[in-house]
Subunit: 212 residues, 2 copies
DNA sequence: TTAGATACATACACGTATGTTTGTAAACAC
DNA sequence: GTGTTTACAAACATACGTGTATGTATCTAA
């Protein structure tokens, strides 16, 4: 096959990632073949091996296309907590839920990550990256919650690390269960879901012990 | 190899399921080989094919060993809501979290289901079963929440179906994130986590629209 | 006591995914 | 205009998992 220009090559790379999304979603990451992906993109495995080292490289590149923008959003939130951290956190959580509900690429990639990927020793590098990313996310959430606590939006006895864990769990859980269910409009209920959780934080009972 | 007695054969079946837990956990369900499982149990694939049709059959049998007892627990809860449904639900949720934290078999199987299994078209039968089980679980939770609502434990404007979704999501999310994290004692914090969520339900804002 | 069923082990055939190597036509540098 | 590099396609070698067929030693029932 003939050589393409730089822009054309970059475009086929994107097409390969699009194809990877579809194939991973349809067959699961493990059962997806590099030939499946190439074929779906109208290419051959030669193209795949030219742009990526192996299947793992495709997977991480595909994840980065959706996770990097979301991470940037959280970074901005931490840089400037604003006058109403809890309210802002509510709106941000709802915004993420709406993104999952409405942006098809986000929907598909979240479904792949939550339902169609086996994290195991073989992909230990990816697991380590993911664990680091999740830990950073929790630290950032805890920071924002502490800011809210200083403003009196959350009782002083609440352990912000544990609350950050609960918040993160709730968000992931809602995304996961809604993706599995799909019986109601998540965007419509996103605000209520987040507000209800924060109402719980505001009326939380005193903790039994310190989490470390 | 010589024929064993019925009891001995039943025991090797259990050993194969134990081995499947270990191998699925270590390599992921897709990458796990029937030879891996047989070898781990000190047997050969002949034994595997004698007791099970294929890998999917092993997987479902392994899941049933932990999910059936838990389902029975929820059934009992629905059969008799008792005088304090919300409090009972709090204790039940905490009990499930403690089970995940302390019972090693439950821990391992939940890790397999949440992190090391790819639900895709190929295992559509398993997916359909799982969806039905989840739907039933949500219906049961909604029933109990309605009982609590009639007793005034939850505001009348709360949509119990949506609340059941949120509760289920929260539980799954907490299990998932704790399994990934493991940095604190989940059993110690289980009560607080559940009580905080129910405090949110009790102080939930009015809904924006009806979920159907 | 013996015929058949049971509980596995062993061996084979088949498909299939992977990594690599080679081929090649167009783009680009000069 | 020629040489080199790019961006793939095509072909190949290797390995591996699955299902099945077959072998076999023991248990069990009549």
């Amino acid at each position: 096959m003939a050589r393409r220009t730089k822009e054309q090559a970059a475009e086929t790379r994107e097409q390969l990632l699009d194809a990877a999304e579809r194939v991973f979603h349809a067959k699961g990451v493990s059962r997806a073949t590099l030939d499946d992906i190439a074929r779906d993109a109208g290419l051959t495995r030669g193209a795949v091996y030219w742009h990526f080292d192996n299947k793992t490289a495709i997977f991480t590149a595909m994840c980065d296309r959706v996770s990097l923008p979301m991470q940037a959003m959280l970074d901005a939130q931490v840089a400037d907590p604003g006058p109403d951290p809890l309210g802002q956190l509510t709106r941000d959580g709802a915004r993420i839920l709406c993104l999952v509900a409405n942006d098809s690429r986000t929907t598909r990639v979240f479904e792949i990550i939550l339902f169609k990927t086996e994290l195991c020793d073989v992909v230990a590098e990816v697991m380590a990256e993911e664990a680091e990313r999740a830990a950073r996310c929790r630290r950032q959430l805890s920071t924002v919650l502490q800011a809210a606590q200083r403003l009196g939006q959350i009782p002083a006895h609440v352990n912000c690390d544990l609350a950050a864990f609960a918040l993160n769990s709730y968000l992931i859980g809602c995304i996961r269960e809604w993706l599995e269910l799909r019986e109601f409009n998540l965007a419509d209920q996103a605000e209520w879901l987040m507000q209800t959780f924060y109402a719980g934080l505001q009326h939380a009972p005193p903790p039994p012990a310190k989490v470390e």
